[in-house]
Amino acid sequence: MRISWMIGGAQGTGIDTSANIFGKVVSTLGYYIYGNREYHSNIKGRHSYFTLTISDKKVRSIPEKADILVSFDAETVLQHFNEIKGYIIYNEGVKGTKVETVQSMESEAAERISKQLESENLPKTVEGALESAKRRGVKLIPVNYDEIAKKVAEEAKVQLSVVERVKNVIGIAVSTKLLGINEEHLAKVAGSTFKQELYRKLNVMAIKKAYELTESVYSLPKLEGAPERYLLDGNTAVAIGKLYGGLRFQSYYPITPASDESMYIEAHQEVLMEDPKTGDKKKGAVVVVQAEDELAAVNMAVGAALTGIRSSTATSGPGFSLMVEGIGWAGMNEVPVVITYYIRGGPSTGLPTRTSQADLLFSMFAGHGEFPKIVVASGTHDEAFKDAVLTLNLAERYQTPVIHLVEKTLANSYTTVPKQDLGVGQLYADRGKLILSPPEDYARFQFTEDGVSPRAPLGKALMYYTGDEHNEYGFISEDPVNRNIIYEKRMKKLELADKEIPEEERVKVYGNVNSENVVITWGAPTGVFIDILEETKLDFALLQLRMFSPFPSRFVSKFLQGRKKIIAAEGNYLAQAGKIVKMNTGIEATNYILKWNGRPFLRDEVEEALRNVIEKDVKKVMLSGGS
């Protein structure tokens, strides 16, 4: 079972809140949800929308065409009427609105829609768009939001302005009625978001009136026996994961879509720790600094890490660009620090609030000179949580910067994660060669067999750090022999990591492992392909790359040997992961499914593309879904 729901409106008019309430309504009935938020780089007024998939099984994608659209304004209808296959709930009041008068719409979109309506001989208005959808079999549900609000105001004997806020619940109520969800359940969940009794009452009245407008067409009964689950977005998953993993210093400079992670941690600046042996509980501070820029952010995090604590920063492309020099210093000085890199559309400020996978090569090769870097990419929400702990462990074990890639899609989408998927209780801390009682003659960069030196916190021993080449003690040295030895010591750590970290943990395989078709992907598109594997009979193996450095070359090489089709599927123009596979294994992709329009991989467009690639051997498909 898979039903998808969409809500749109002007940014700042409660679209997010409505989507949250709706998400809660269905998930508390026992259903799994996966929701994605799309928004402009704007505070108020531009079009934003939210797409939600509902399923009785775990779900990780949104479709290209939704079953239900809830709209309040003209632009939402105009932007999405082509993307709806079931029901459009619309505001009767905006029917007459002409395309050309919707100021907030980008001119390219307005022109595209006008041309389409013209070609269908329809008026270039909201009504025309609705008619176009109707011709395709979409059912229209007109709602007079103002009339309902007026009636509620009259009945409750309050001013109309007080009732304004209940308008959002009307759209939700019509949707839940369509879904066959009972009125009381909606009233309860919606009511819990309001503190004041009056608003609860007004909500119930509005819901009642909205429920009279339509009949139920779907049937979503309460699911019994649903396991314990959490509603998590990617930013929060990483933030909670970091706190759990023992992060105690986070610095950041505001940037979308990374900031929410830091702000969550800042809101939880003090954590409770329990000594598992004695059961003693103690509170501890987590320092979060909103720095003056990304240069400061990364270097503060590096400085903090020198004291032996777990430290990180979070940013996006433009910020990461500024952090590169600091990351190089951390590499040179073998400092464990985690940089959570939320990828959005570039180059430059690009598409600041849209998704992308185009920064993979940049993240791997960031920095002048050579130094080991570990690069991990999460594909799903539970991975984002677990990887937050994993990256902190890897940073300390190999004493090197770790870059954790999370795209905007994963950061801003939310889903229901079963408790057991998070692995709380099984995750552990690996602090590597951290020593708290260093010897008198401590050399921070002592040469060792495996290249990793015992690491003492700054303050526990005398030590010297420098970005210049240095000797075992951390003193500047340009000696050619020392240079060779210490350079190799640093680089060797990546070889050690490659030896120690099981390759099976660096890639995940799904589907028919013996299939002649292999899809290689990473990050958020992974979920889309898993959904397709679970829901269709398409024959392919899915190879999810989770670690790009050190790259699991032997595993990938072996896995790809002799396959007929190797399909690189990713959110960039260059097929960057495909390039990394070729660089490490010599094996080149045969087909490509690529997308770089700033929107996530959509379930249906990917299925269609896969069919074209597998059945018709189309070499390259450019995906263009999303509005």
């Binding site: 509170k283 501070a285 400085g303 903090a304 032996g308 420098t466």
Partner: protein, 304 residues
């Protein structure tokens, strides 16, 4: 102390840095804080000071302009450490000017020492932000085209709560100023007039010796909230005195402004009792942080 392959010192003969290093060593030793002290430097001759300390203090030689953020990270993670930043005028007021100003808003309890010689020494004498317009030091192809920053005024305007100036060749006085700066609760700034015998042939030792004088009439200490404005104004006025007479000494000292550490304590009351560098985040590899309440908030159940 390990043969301590202490580093060969790269500074030119007669460099003002020797006076600064000597004063810093004496101040730290006399205060008895060697083991707890971390010297953080940027890039350039000044930044290398972190490598040349012949007393048992740790040294962190960082990136051009970024010594302050490194120092802030170190201090906030472990407030029991004494953290002293050393940077040149190019380092702190050119490439790192944003950090120099921003740290003032935070009043982090660290010391910032400016090696002020008007030139970029290590890259062969280009004009630095404290060199006055029209000055043509010997390595400049043309007279300096930019105006100079007044570091003392800038520090005062940025919120530093201890602001002083000293002279690299008056080591006893400089040492006292550095001691006061370290003891100060809050962000301290010391502008050190430092001749560069190799590249700055104008602001030489002879030039400074004639001009610097110790302020006698200045009462820089803010004793109550009501005095803050007035004392700050006086300090700013005094900071403009330059030319035939150049004042050295403390311009401003105010311990009434809460430090950044104290501000953290308001949102995380356990900060001083259990600061980040002291916390036990694991026990025999078991993670100790309890996140159940955070997850509970996100739990999907009929009750929420």
């Amino acid at each position: 102390m390990a043969g301590h392959k202490f580093h060969w010192n790269d500074w030119c003969p007669g460099c003002g840095n020797f006076g600064i290093l000597s004063a810093e060593q004496q101040a730290i030793t006399e205060l008895g804080i060697t083991k707890n002290t971390v010297i953080v430097g940027g890039i350039g001759c000044s930044g290398k000071l972190s490598q040349y300390t012949r007393i048992p203090v740790s040294g962190v030689h960082t990136l051009h302009g970024r010594a302050i953020p490194f120092a802030v990270g170190i201090k906030l993670a472990n407030p029991s450490l004494e953290v002293i930043v050393n940077g040149g005028d190019g380092d702190l007021l050119g490439i790192g000017a944003g950090h120099f100003v921003s740290v003032g808003r935070r009043n982090v309890d660290i010391v910032v020492i400016l090696h002020n010689n008007g030139v970029y020494g290590l890259t062969k004498g280009q004009a630095a932000p404290t060199l006055f317009r029209g000055m043509k030091t010997k390595s400049l192809p043309r007279p300096n085209i930019n105006d100079a920053i007044n570091p003392v005024t800038l520090a005062l305007a940025s919120g530093y709560t201890f602001v002083a100036r000293a002279y690299a060749y008056d080591v006893p006085h400089l040492k006292e100023i550095i001691k006061q700066a370290i003891k100060h609760k809050g962000l301290a700034f010391v502008d050190i007039l430092q001749p560069c015998p190799t590249y700055n042939d104008i602001n030489t030792k002879e030039w400074y010796d004639k001009r610097v004088y110790k302020m006698q009439d200045m009462d820089p200490v803010v004793k109550s909230e009501s005095e803050m404005q007035e004392k700050l104004k006086k300090a700013i006025d005094k900071s403009y005195e330059w030319g035939e007479r150049i004042p050295i000494g403390i311009f401003y000292k105010n311990e009434l402004v809460p430090t950044y550490e104290e501000r953290i304590k308001t949102s995380a009351p356990s900060y001083y009792d259990n600061y980040p560098a002291e916390q036990k985040i694991e026990y025999e590899k078991k993670l100790t942080t309890i996140i159940d309440p955070l997850l509970e908030e996100r739990k999907v159940s009929e009750d929420n």
